[in-house]
């Protein structure tokens, strides 16, 4: 039998993977001839590394690792074949930091989870859009790349004023770190939609096993629809799976609030990724030349699946 090796994070932004893993949807769709080998990651670069090395065939992953992976391999290594989730990031400020409006960020410390990652890029472009400058660009706003758990600690120590954080950390910063929602990133985008996770496949696997990929996409789309149709049940399964993999479930309140800012979708929201890439390039993360991302998407299989189901194709 063939084996599909697929990566995912035990995280609410990878809902199809978590729910599908839990209820066996993928096994059902792929049939008995296919063995599914799940690999767990908790950071994009490691997943890309594994994809490069041929250790996995597909993975659910955020947009920025996708871009760097594509650019680093000169467009050789991977293709985006579907979206997974949208939204799920927010700018949180500490209640007693005295921040009411963008202008108040002068001289403040803002954290992002990782240099050059999705939130980091979004933060930097938002700052620029609001006429603020980070210290490394000669301004007075300090952008500090810092792991999410450490952001919470520093919120409590009052050494950090704000953070651009993904879910569920945004919610936790609000609930446990005396934080306040300053900006939901969705408000910055058309249709309140921007990609926060998509499904990528290694080019080689896509070429060798288009049928398998297509089957996978079928399950993926079905799961997406099921989740959107059965939100409470889906959330429960999602949380159980997270608990299974991480040893700890999210508190229900956190789950509800966090998931409220996430939308499950199979649309890769191409425009949002391209605009994020532009921002990343502007911030200096993608080298000297704006990379050509025209070959990044291969949505033909997704569209086949959608048309089978009588749904609108995605360009």
């Amino acid at each position: 039998p063939v084996t599909i090796r697929i990566g995912a994070f035990p995280n609410i932004t990878h809902p199809q993977a978590m729910v599908g893993k839990a209820n066996g949807e993928f096994e059902k769709t792929m049939g008995p001839g296919v063995k599914i080998d799940w690999k767990t990651f908790n950071a994009g670069p490691a997943a890309i590394e594994a994809l490069f090395a041929g250790a996995i065939d597909m993975t659910y992953i955020g947009p920025n690792p996708t871009i760097t992976g594509y650019v680093r391999s000169n467009g050789e290594a991977l293709r985006v074949i579907a979206g997974a989730a949208s939204g799920g990031a927010a700018l949180i400020v500490r209640n007693d930091a005295g921040i009411q409006k963008p202008g108040d960020f002068h001289g403040k410390k803002i954290a992002s989870p990782q240099l050059g990652n999705t939130q980091d890029v979004a933060l930097r472009s938002w700052l620029r859009a609001n006429g603020l400058k980070s210290t490394d660009k000669g301004g007075d706003v300090q952008v500090i790349p810092l792991a999410n758990p450490d952001q919470l600690t520093l919120f409590l120590k009052k050494q950090l004023d704000a953070a651009w954080a993904p879910e569920p950390w945004a919610t936790r910063l609000i609930r446990e770190g005396n934080g306040r929602l300053f900006l939901d990133e969705r408000t910055l985008w058309p249709n309140q939609q921007f990609v926060c996770a998509n499904l990528i496949v290694s080019t080689k696997f896509l070429k060798d096993h288009p049928d398998l990929v297509k089957n996978w996409l079928r399950a993926h789309v079905e799961l997406t629809e099921w989740i959107n149709g059965h939100l409470p049940a889906a959330k429960k399964i999602l949380n159980q799976q997270i608990q299974k993999e991480t040893g700890k479930a999210l508190p229900d309140a956190v789950l509800d609030e966090a998931f409220g800012r996430v939308q499950v979708t199979y649309d890769p929201l191409r425009y949002s990724l391209l605009s994020a890439a532009k921002s990343a390039y502007d911030a200096g993360f993608l080298g000297r030349q704006m990379p050509d991302l025209s070959g990044l998407y291969d949505l033909s299989l997704l569209n086949l699946v959608l048309s089978e189901k009588g749904k609108k194709a995605i360009q």
């Binding site: 090796r5 690999k39 767990t40 990651f41 908790n42 490691a46 590394e49 594994a50 090395a53 041929g54 250790a55 996995i56 792991a147 999410n148 758990p149 919470l152 600690t153 409590l156 936790r172 446990e176 993999e245 991480t246 040893g247 700890k248």
Partner: protein, 293 residues
């Protein structure tokens, strides 16, 4: 009279023992004293006192709520995390998996490290080239080996073992080299004079002569390996203590982090007591080295 005097003497000496290490008794005699019921009792009492005080201090700090409890959890919170983890077997499985990896990887490292050490020791060319490189390689953090590991072994157990290996193999090799460099000249002279040369000189003379260093290196290698393994598990996110630690951290669950840390410490303590202490003791009593008390 002699009885009275004797007890006089022994208390006098006993009381001195609180000062700097006194080795006025032969090692065998000291071991004797150590294995007496009284000695063990005293040691256990000391340890109970010490750890109780530590625990009390921790409880006090937690009670005072200088730091919020999710950053500085109280002992009972950690205890309940520990209990929960043990209840649902996740900790036990983690320990089992991690220990299994450690045992395999460490044994491999020791064997390979010794072979490497032998190669470097027995070949002038290798020593001048590879030898110098090895020490420098040792300062690379384990994360550097992760891409190579994935490249060569994929996301398998082997990759984790590789990272672990790269973490501790060099400790063993370097300890062997140190032992060889610092060992008294008379041993190799006597060995060569009695007809040992080449491999046999290494095996029968240089290796045993540098045993004290090798034991020290094995100890350090164990620590290095353990750290590398935990880190590898954190990166690869496969079952194990490293994953539990990472999850605790990712979820900002300090009770779990500390519970896992306690387990790591306890395991380290156990291995040290059961394995390395025994090795040291044997060495000391056989070689007649300074007793450890």
């Amino acid at each position: 009279m002699s009885v009275a005097n004797h007890s006089d003497l022994s208390t006098a000496v006993e009381s001195r023992a609180i000062g700097v290490r006194t080795d006025h008794a032969a090692p065998t005699r000291l071991q004797n004293r150590r294995t007496t019921g009284r000695g063990i009792l005293r040691r256990i009492t000391n340890q109970v006192i010490f750890y109780s005080v530590l625990l009390g201090l921790w409880a006090l700090l937690a009670k005072l709520r200088i730091w919020p409890p999710y950053l500085f959890p109280a002992p009972w919170a950690v205890a309940s995390a520990l209990w929960a983890g043990l209840q649902d077997h996740s900790f036990l499985i983690g320990i089992a998996v991690t220990m299994k990896r450690m045992l395999i990887g460490y044994s491999l490292s020791v064997v390979l490290g010794m072979i490497l050490g032998l190669a470097v020791a027995s070949n002038k060319f290798l020593e001048e080239t590879l030898g110098a490189l090895l020490v420098s390689l040792q300062s690379l953090p384990s994360i550097c080996w992760v891409p190579l590991a994935i490249l060569w072994f994929g996301l398998t157990e082997k990759a984790i073992l590789f990272v672990l290996l790269m973490g501790c193999i060099l400790s063993v090799t370097i300890a062997m080299e140190d032992g060889r460099k610092q060992m008294p000249k008379i041993y190799t002279m006597a060995g060569r004079n009695l007809g040992a040369s080449g491999f046999r000189l290494f095996w029968y003379v240089m290796l045993p002569a540098s045993l004290p260093y090798i034991v020290s290196g094995l100890k350090q290698g164990w620590a290095f390996g353990w750290r590398s393994l935990i880190q590898a598990e954190m990166i690869f996110l496969t079952i194990g203590l490293g994953q539990l630690l990472m999850m605790g951290r990712d979820l900002n669950d300090m009770s779990q982090v500390i519970a896992v840390m306690l387990m790591i410490i306890a395991l380290g303590y156990l291995v040290n007591r059961l394995v390395f202490r025994t090795m040291e003791r044997t060495l000391q009593s056989r070689w007649g080295l300074a007793p450890n008390a």
